[in-house]
Amino acid sequence: MNVQETIEEKLRRDLDPLHLEVINESSMHNVPPGSESHFKVFVVSERFAGENRINRQRAVNRTLKEELAGPVHALSMHTLTPEEWEARDRATLASPECLGGMGK
């Protein structure tokens, strides 16, 4: 299993996401072709309800602790509850609303 698949599997296992996107952004950085070092994840999960943003990100960081200590050098993330996602018209990472300015 490559790093991207591992990230997806662990996030599905721990956070039971309604929607999950894991994007390898390594090619946007100064690393060799085929690298798996820079990722962006978008997680929509009921588990985030009642948690502030720091705790939501901590939950993702905890799940991916081994990857962050190993091959993953940078992890950018969006964490929403299903209600918040509805309010954003179920936008995905491909939608402009969610990319956030200088999205690198």
């Binding site: 990100q57 956030g100 200088m102 690198k104």
Partner: protein
Amino acid sequence: MDTAVSQKIEDTVNSDRVVLFMKGTKDFPQCGFSGRAVQILQNLDVDFRDVNVLEDNSIREGIKEYSDWPTIPQLYVDGEFVGGSDLLLEMYQNGELEGMIKA
């Protein structure tokens, strides 16, 4: 973390009202995420202290343990951890960061 390192981090976090732990310096960021954090603070016209974690490995590793946050950059305001790169951008865009810093 040994107490000398933890004391050094505590002192650094409280050494200024706004402290950014980053890779590189505000004049010469060495990572895109750190560079973006500097840009955000400069756009808000905030005075802040930059701490280059690349110059001190004990700080680089220690700050992650201190805040229970595995990545750099990290912003502290009034001694409190505010967030990393994604949170800073979000709080900048929705005006929260300006409210917090200029309060």
